[in-house]
């Protein structure tokens, strides 16, 4: 387990380093930074002064090292558009996205687990087929279009929910459904497969032989054993949701980092884009590491495989 952990952490750090270099490069490929900071109609001498002041005349690797060092301490530079530190701009938008992704994952699990359990308890029944349809439809629905249809139905026709903004909890209902529905098929199939496997095992037969009630067998014995991969995959899905929120937040005009990233891209505010890409990548990598270690800690086969290499 120790060797496996070390190996996974090593790989994670390497990936993090590479991603940070790639996102650093995107900023520099986006054009002349000194010109961008000075403005389009600045004098050549002013541009040159800014170039020296910000160290943009140094070799790329030196610039990367100094940028990465600052980024590690939470300093992502200044936004071209707002002329404010990026960290400050992101600080009040990040919690909004986290709240959205959390409510989305709660919605996804709330739909996926009961349906998956019901489907596994009665394979090939109508409820199993319903689950299959839900997941097939879910994978084919374009998320932005689904959001717009939700807006038309619940926001305009029924007038139950506000259509845009992020002022109250009601503002999060539709975005959470739109974002969470996307993760539901994967989680539901995982629940169903895990439950089918668990229900087929010897300890369930023992539990049945003891005369336990079906209810207690399913929830106390089987679901508990099927839960580990569900938790691990939820963590990874959560990472996906943070980046998937770009589309959903833009549709619902939610003031989170996804919408902010889209605005920043549209105005070529690349220090902001760079910081968001980097943060999302780090969160994803971190969640993946936790998920992998969690699965490995509970699955001896994988643990041994890691030691064998």
């Amino acid at each position: 387990m120790f060797a496996y952990t070390i190996k996974r952490i090593g790989l994670t750090l390497l990936v993090a380093l590479t991603v940070s270099f790639i996102s650093f490069l995107t900023l520099h490929l986006s054009g002349d930074l000194a010109q961008a900071m000075a403005g389009a109609d600045a004098k050549a001498a002013d541009v040159e002064r800014i170039r020296q002041q910000y160290g943009l005349d140094r070799p790329l690797l030196v610039q990367y090292a100094s940028w990465a060092g600052k980024a590690l301490s939470g300093d992502f530079g200044e936004s071209f558009y707002f002329r404010k530190p990026v960290t400050e701009l992101l600080a009040d938008r990040f919690p909004v996205t986290i709240a959205l992704a959390l409510s989305a994952i709660v919605f996804a699990l709330g739909l996926a687990i009961p349906l998956g359990v019901a489907a596994a308890a009665r394979p090939n029944s109508w409820i199993d087929r319903l689950c299959l349809s839900v997941s097939v439809v879910g994978q084919a629905l374009p998320s932005f279009w689904f959001s717009l249809m939700l807006i038309i139905f619940f926001g305009v026709t029924l007038r139950w929910l506000p259509v845009s903004g992020s002022g109250s909890w009601q503002h999060y209902v539709m975005p959470a459904i739109a974002l969470g529905y996307y993760a539901t098929p994967a989680l539901m199939r995982l629940t169903r497969a895990g439950m089918l496997e668990a229900l087929d095992s010897d300890y369930i037969r023992t539990a049945r032989a003891k005369g336990l009630r079906t209810h207690s067998i399913i929830f106390k014995h089987a679901l508990r054993n099927a839960a580990i991969p569900i938790v691990a995959v939820s963590a990874v899905q959560f990472g996906f949701m943070l980046s998937g929120s770009v589309v959903i937040e833009t549709v619902f005009a939610i003031r989170g980092i996804g919408h902010f990233a889209w605005e920043a891209i549209s105005r070529s505010d690349f220090p902001v884009v760079q910081a968001i890409v980097l943060i999302l990548a780090f969160v994803y990598v971190g969640l993946n590491l936790i998920a992998d270690l969690l699965i490995a800690a509970l699955d001896p086969r994988l643990r041994m495989q890691g030691e064998g290499v």
Partner: protein, 297 residues
């Protein structure tokens, strides 16, 4: 007298015949294949089927509702958009954009992902480690954000969107082909090929590739659906293909202003997109059920 061995051989169907029979009985596959054939037909024969020029703007006939609404007319079966362009013609031509992006982006990602995955699965060891590293790096980058940034930097055109998606969506090919190749590598026919002195390249290309091809096709269909959805999302956000090209995602974006008064204007391209992606997914699921080893009895 007939040779008993030969008549026995005739009675046993070939694997291909069995697969074909199972496909014809697979309801999802049939529905998916029909849906896909319809969209393919729309795309191929768009110039013949479209009643109007999809780019022609006539401001006097703006926002005509489709035929099932009260003041709809059969002259414009699906109505017209805010610039007076015939919606049916734009939907027909839009099928071309979606399919072109789906096909070409999938081929690019299949080449990248397939090469990486098969190399990792076949050689193992250090190659496998490098590929795993590339895969982890790619997975950690938020696809939508990276695609949006690249399009913003380079400029949105059909070619750019196709290349970006092709270069981003290879991960699933790598994951699956690595696993499948690892299993094939241990089989006797690969050892036999090695024993008679085939080069590694020949073994991968001529021996293993035909055997992992079904996995390729299955991933390709699912990835194509993914590419089409992503293109629509990028175009919807204004950083995909650019107007006046009729992309279904872009049509939804352009119609967003009108959607509160006439919901059909976003419902029509959305349904087209949904139907296409659903068909491709059903088609791919059917293929997987029949072709993949897990799908056989």
């Amino acid at each position: 007298m007939k040779d008993p061995v030969e008549s026995n051989l005739q009675a046993v169907s070939t694997p291909r015949a069995i697969a074909r029979r199972r496909l014809y009985q697979h309801k999802g596959f049939i529905i998916g294949a029909i849906g896909l054939a319809i969209v393919l037909g729309m795309a191929l024969f768009a110039p013949l089927l479209a009643p109007y020029d999809p780019y022609e703007q006539v401001l006097t006939r703006r926002l005509i509702p489709p035929f099932w609404q009260e003041d709809g007319t059969w002259l414009f079966p699906l109505g017209t958009d805010h610039l007076g362009r015939d919606y049916l013609s734009r939907i027909l031509y839009g099928a071309r954009v979606s399919l072109a992006i789906g096909f070409v982006a999938t081929i690019i990602s299949a080449v990248i992902g397939g090469t990486l995955g098969m190399a990792a699965g076949y050689f193992g060891g250090r190659v496998d480690m490098v590929v795993s590293f590339m895969l982890s790096t790619r997975l950690s980058m938020p696809v939508v954000l990276v695609a949006l940034s690249v399009v913003a930097l380079v400029g949105g055109s059909l070619t750019v969107v196709i290349s970006v998606l092709g270069c981003l969506l290879w991960d699933r090919f790598t994951v699956v082909l690595r696993a499948v190749t690892m299993r094939e590598r241990l089989l006797d026919y690969v050892s036999a090929a090695k024993a008679i002195g085939c080069t590694d390249f020949r073994i991968i290309a001529r021996e293993i590739f035909p055997n992992v091809f079904p996995a390729f096709v299955v991933i390709a269909t699912l990835e194509m659906a993914n590419a089409i959805l992503l293109e629509a999302a990028l175009s919807f956000l204004g950083l995909g293909v650019q107007p006046p090209l009729p992309s279904w995602g872009l049509m939804i974006a352009e119609a967003k202003e009108q959607m509160y008064f006439s919901p059909w204007i976003i419902a029509i391209p959305g349904c087209a997109l949904f139907a296409l992606v659903l068909s491709i997914n059903l088609f791919g699921d059917g293929l997987r059920d029949v072709l993949s080893p897990e799908g056989r009895n």
